[in-house]
Structure formats: C-alpha cells, structure tokens
C-alpha cells in the first residue's frame, strides 16, 4: 500500500492578537499550504483563533532542560556556517505547551539555542524548540475573516450549546445554591 500520510507538520495556534502562538498538535500533509488548511480544519474548531503557523516536524530542533544539563546542544556551531534566524518556543510547565518566545540568530541550532537560553530561558523553562524562520508557513495577516471568521458564528461548536451539558451545569448550580443557602 502506498504511503498517503504525507509529512508531519507541527501546528501553532494563536488565540488572540496579544497572546503568543502556542503548540496545538500536528497534522500530516503533502505540503505546507495543505498543512495550513488541515491545521485550520482540525484545530480551529472553536472560535478563539487569530493566527496559525505550521512547520515540518523534522525541522524542529528540540532540547529539554535535562539534556542541556547533560551538555547536549551546548557545543558551539562549527565555523564557516551561515547565520540563520530561528524562532524560539519555550515550554514552561509540565502540563503546558510550547509557546512562542521570540527569535535568535546562530550559525546552527545549537549555537542559536545557547542564545535562546540566555534571552528567553527564565527560571521556569523546561524545554526548547527552535525552528528556522524559513520553515514556518503562516496564515496571512488580513485574511483572518476568511480563515477564522466562520468559526465564530458556530455556536454548536461550543460545549455549552448542548442541552445535556448546560442542564448538568444548571443542576450543579442549583445544588451549590442550596448548599450555600442551608
């Protein structure tokens, strides 16, 4: 059987203009443009989205705090290399996701990571992802309405739309009121 799965792309999702892009999951696609569409269809089910990025998963340079302590990724890049700009994502909670922190330049991901740790490390940083800026395919600014507008009018995508849940919440609310009244 032929492999129809395609390349894996990591997806970053921005909930509001003042929030960072956050890792949402991944999609498989034959190319970046299709990956962006799949990202929209899979991860923008609910209305809170203003921007999406996708990047091939095999382009992610990933290091955890433990790996760094053991010395992995600390070595400087080999000389004569071109300076590349990397976008930095940091994970700061065990249950949290990777969040966009900023960008750094380096002659390779390892060199760039050293700078990233200095600039964006902080006391809570647990793991880092670096992606060459060129590897990221982004939803276009100014097209938010086409990409994300329709989801906003779909109340049925909110869990509260469904009777069972709202009834359960109503019942729970009533119980709480009784409790506090007694």
């Amino acid at each position: 059987m032929k492999d129809t799965e395609g390349r894996r792309y990591v997806v970053f999702h921005q909930e509001a203009a003042d929030k960072p892009h956050r890792h949402a999951g991944s999609v498989h696609a034959p190319d970046a443009a299709m990956a962006l569409m799949h990202a929209r269809d899979v991860f923008v089910r609910r209305p809170e989205c203003v921007g999406l990025w996708v990047a091939p998963a095999d382009q992610v340079y990933s290091r955890t705090l433990e790996e760094l302590k053991q010395g992995a990724g600390r070595q400087a890049g080999i000389g004569e290399q071109e300076l590349v700009e990397y976008v930095v994502f940091v994970k700061s909670h065990h249950k949290g996701s990777f969040e966009h922190a900023g960008s750094v330049s380096g002659t390779g991901p390892a060199a760039a990571l050293s700078k990233a740790v200095e600039s964006y490390g902080g006391p809570l940083a647990l793991a880092w992802w670096l992606l060459p800026v060129e590897a990221i395919h982004r939803s276009k600014a100014g097209e938010e309405e086409v990409w994300f507008g329709p989801a906003r009018s779909k109340d049925f995508r909110r869990s509260t739309f469904f009777h069972t849940l709202s009834r359960k919440l109503a019942l729970r609310g009533a119980t709480l009121e009784e409790d506090s009244g007694s």
Binding site: E5, P30, D41, P150
Partner: protein, 256 residues
C-alpha cells in the same frame, strides 16, 4: 410583494436550500471514510457547513411565506416527497471515489461562489443578507477544493486519470445548475435574482482556468446545453431522502 413574484422567489429559495442540503448530506457520507484523518475532519465540516447554509435559505423562505422559521425548515427537510425537491441531479449522485467527490464539490462550490456574489446584491434584502453571510465561508471552501483539484490533477497517473474520468462524467450534470427555474425571468427583471446566463459564463471561465492549471480538461459540450429542469429529479434522490427521512417517518412525534 406581488403574489406571483413571491411564489417565484419561494421556489428560488427552495432550490438554493435543496442544493445545499442534498450536497451536504451526500458529502457527510465521507465522515469516517475520507482518505486521511485530517481531510475526514475537514470534509465533514464542509458538509456540515452546507447543511447550515440550507437552514439559512429555508429560514429565509419561511419568513417569505409567513411560516415559523424554527419549525418550517424541519418540515421541508423531513416531510417533503422527492418530487417536491428542486435540487440539481449533480448533488444527489452517489459519492463515488474521492476524485469524483472532489470534482463534484469543486464544480458546485465555484458555481455557488458566482451566484453568492450576485445574490448579495439582490433587491430582496433578506436574501442579500444571507448571501453575504455565506460568501465569506465559501471563500475557504473554494480554496480547499481548488487545493485538492490541483494536487490530484498534478499528482500521480492514477489520481489524474481518476480526476479526468470524474470530470467527464460530472460536467454535463454541473450544467444543470444553470437551467433557469420557471419564474426566474420575472424575478431577474424585478432585480431580485441575477441572470443565470451571466453566471454560467463567469463560472465556466473560472472553472476552466483552474482545471487547466491542474492539467485537466473539461469535456467539450454544446454551448447551449444546460441539462434538464430542476423538477426532473434523477434516480438517486429518492434513496437519499429515504435514509435522511427514515427516523422522522418511523417516529413522527419524537422530540429531541
């Protein structure tokens, strides 16, 4: 509104809603079966969007004919006989393979794009408002389908030949979209709906350009052929409706 115009407009809104309902229902058959997981989610959503659009058209129709917009759409969907539907045969055809599904959806969405642009300038304000609302969502639908047409048209020998076969089969059916309804000339003269001939040429130009880019050729055809009237339902609608309406017909008083 003049009663004859009203009746004509009601028939027009019925046709708009019926196309969306039947295509949405047919495409929903892919739920759980699409070629890859991501597309399964995407395509089920696209199908659901169409059913949502049908609901908007039926709601507009309910207001026009003085019916309750909350209950009338259900009656239209679940209680009409096949002969009362005014959808084109294109949308009721069985799903076929993925190429067939993609081509059908592509041809339909491109036509819908053309008429929504024109309908959003309709002299009947409620119709213009619904068209304007749906228009934004359809921009994404067209991108999605164009992306598939390109990738399958330019993909492998097999994907290309399946796409071409689907196109050859579906092209004559797509032309039925441009067969005018009985009272349409009067509606167009009153500025309520666009001229269909105008729509057809814009559609054909866009569709041919997209197909060319994907290495596919639309079948040659007689310039004036537009397929049968919408009152002529093909053989596939009754089966689709029998399934769609089965629960309501078995349990007419059920509430959920």
């Amino acid at each position: 509104m003049d009663p004859e115009l009203r009746a004509g407009l009601a028939a027009y809104l019925t046709a708009l809603g019926d196309d969306e309902l039947i295509l949405g229902h047919r495409d929903s058959e892919w739920c759980g079966h699409a070629p890859i997981l991501e597309e399964d989610i995407a395509f089920a959503n696209l199908a659901l969007d169409e059913i949502g659009h049908a609901l908007l058209w039926y709601g507009t129709l309910a207001d026009l004919v003085g019916q309750d917009p909350d209950t009338y759409p259900d009656r239209l969907v679940f209680l009409r006989a096949p002969a009362e539907f005014r959808s084109v045969q294109l949308v009721a055809l069985p799903v076929g393979d993925w190429a067939f599904t993609v081509v059908r959806r592509f041809l339909f969405d491109e036509a819908e794009g053309v008429w929504l642009e024109l309908l959003s300038e309709s002299g009947y304000a409620p119709l213009a408002q619904v068209a304007a609302k749906i228009k934004t969502e359809e921009i994404y639908h067209r991108r999605h389908m164009r992306a598939w047409v390109q990738r399958l048209g330019l993909g492998t020998e097999e994907s290309k030949s399946r796409m071409q076969a689907a196109l050859d089969e579906l092209w004559p059916y797509a032309l039925q979209i441009f067969a005018p309804l009985p009272d349409e000339a009067r509606l167009a003269a009153a500025g309520l709906v666009p001229e269909r001939t105008q729509m057809r040429s814009v559609w054909e130009q866009r569709v041919r350009a997209q197909l060319r880019e994907a290495g596919l050729l639309p079948a040659s055809h007689e310039a004036e052929a537009v397929g049968p009237a919408r009152s002529e339902q093909g053989q596939h609608l009754p089966g689709l409706l029998a399934e769609l309406q089965s629960v309501v017909r078995q349990h007419p008083d059920a509430r959920w």
